[in-house]
Symmetry: C3
């Protein structure tokens, strides 16, 4: 499944414009390179339109946002829309402050997003206009489980309908949906929440996958979620093998992405249509 | 010693608001996660009060400060004071420029800090209002040694009295003191000064320890210093074992923190009351 | 060759002021420490002159530039010129946006640079005032090859004459030249382009080498290029040995720099005068 989707990223090596937070920006750049794409980070309002124009996709991540970069996000997003580039929103910490919630909502009003990717609490917040989080982590009470999965899938499709974007809710179980179809993905490992940046990395990766597969943003996003999850599993195995900890896990995650081939991707992907 | 202090961090997994420099911010986030705490980085003035309110502690680090973030530091610090949260100051490079020295002094005037942690040159600078550094490293002439240790302990207690904060002076020998009591800690390894960020990481870790042990900021800070030093020792051993260098050392440091358990902590801690 | 040049960095451990992008800033700090130098990052206009004054060299890197930091770059550069410190320009992404091209040109007008280091597309752009890039990567059509090497060397010397600076063009084959003499360096590995930051790291390293060898900026820069290339080769060997990927490569690169000794440097350097 998603065989071409995966291959297209390495074949087309898309260039991704990232307006992203300064916490995980280096990881974002390195995961894109590891996946066969290229990053360019630029957030000054006087260059974002030109930078977006030479790129194949745009990711907007609102972690460590500020007044200056919010304006750049709006400017870049509108230009990417005008050019028909895929645009991904990562509403990091929506619900943690009014600034984040309001900015996410404003971005969604002024920009058409191809994909919105967040944890369940962030996605609930942007869908309802308010919510709760534990900082940048999901609220435990919101978690998607096998028990509430059907409801969760329905909910994610409904948000997709509202927002006219593919919605990717990532956590222990991942759901990627448009208004009609959903993929439930069971790759990944809990260790991914013990390092910073796995969500941010996934968001820029989704941009690369969408850029390389413009005809199928739903499949592209689901494939990127699976790829990231698979790399998390491999990284965990390597970490255990090396008898080490989360520092090593983070490095092995990028190793795994740079070594991931189509066969491994096919053999490991755990995706279900709903 | 400090057994509960150590355990409390993993039990309570405090959320730490970090206003910190962009050089080592990723390491700060990862060390907190490795220790069982969680980070949130936010520096825009329109959200720092709300972010601090949902957290359990605040760290203010003045590396790569600027006019915009200084105002956010003041705003966040006052709110954390109002809420009774522990607030940690890391006066990175105080003495290297008037902006850094003056900002550290202003922060100390307008905010009540629970802990101030720096190298000896930074702490001398903030106590006297002026000083010298070698950039962000301590001036060699200032170093705490076995010879001047008694004087140094007395000096650190005196600064604590002045500043009404726990003072942590870290270097080859670490001193953590309030006005009455001091701990001298002899964990750590010189290799820790061959990577960037060990000081910054310690400051956010101290915040997590203070948040998890609100009744004993002195012991909490001392325990965080010991934990960081122990991880430095383990990382050095692993680096030598792997026949590698400082890149590996940095990763092993985070590995060590994520694997550190109460027994290892107890067996390795080298702390003395003075 | 360059034996003293190499040794001088570890002997004099220069302090390098870096005004650089937030993507690779941590790598820049760590590579300087690994090489025996020290970093200080500071970009606020009210402190850059003082910070530069306590340092031995300045690197200006225009990745993730903005209006605020451009002014700081100008201020710091002029002060470093006044003090006679080596000043290195890394025109990251010149050609990718008018802001980057214009800023590079303005910096070159108002500041005397000791060294300008970039990929071939960036250097062409700053020499002609316009150009094309693939984001922050060189345009393939610009690549220096064995076939066009003589022309490329002549071109780099000519730019050096125009710009009155040592010019370092890095890629598969590196050229470092002043108006009269050139070094062609064949160290390095293609894997270096699969992680972010090798160019940025080289630019701060060149600053450290120039600071430690003020009488010979051409030789110092060439030696820094060779050192970086050698570390890339070693890192690649270690990566293959460990059967791993680009995450590990990045760590091994810093390991290699921290372990690099004069013998290894001498045995591996592949430099030719032209």
């Amino acid at each position: 499944m998603f065989e071409n989707t995966f291959d297209n990223v390495r074949k087309k090596h898309p260039l991704v414009h990232c307006i992203t937070n300064y916490v995980t920006v280096n990881d974002c750049a390195n995961i894109l390179l590891a996946a066969g794409a290229s990053p360019i980070m630029a957030d000054d309002i006087s260059e974002v339109r030109q930078i977006t124009a030479i790129c194949n996709a745009l990711t907007i991540n609102i972690g460590t946002l500020n007044e200056r970069t919010i304006n750049s996000m709006l400017e870049a997003g509108k230009e990417a829309n005008r050019l028909g580039h895929p645009v991904i929103l990562d509403p990091v910490g929506a619900g943690a402050s009014a600034l984040r919630t309001d900015t996410a909502l404003r971005l969604m009003t002024e920009i058409r997003f191809t994909v919105i990717r967040g944890n369940i609490s962030e996605i609930k917040t942007v869908s309802k206009g308010s919510g709760t989080t534990r900082g940048v982590d999901a609220d435990v009470s919101d978690a998607v489980t096998e028990e509430n999965l059907s409801d969760a899938v329905r909910f994610v499709k409904e948000i997709s309908r509202q927002k006219k974007a593919v919605i990717a809710v990532t956590g222990a179980i991942d759901i990627v949906a448009d208004s009609e179809n959903a993929y439930v993905i069971r790759n990944g490992h809990p260790m991914m929440s013990k390092i910073t940046g796995t969500g941010c990395m996934l968001s820029v990766l989704a941009a690369a996958y969408c850029a390389a597969n413009p005809e199928d943003p739903l499949g592209a996003t689901a494939a990127s979620v699976a790829a990231m999850g698979i790399c998390g599993e491999i990284a965990y195995e390597k970490m255990v093998e090396a008898n080490s900890g989360t520092g090593t896990f983070r490095i092995k995650l990028i190793d795994a992405m740079s070594c991931l081939d189509a066969d491994t991707f096919q053999n490991r992907i755990k995706v279900e249509s709903r």
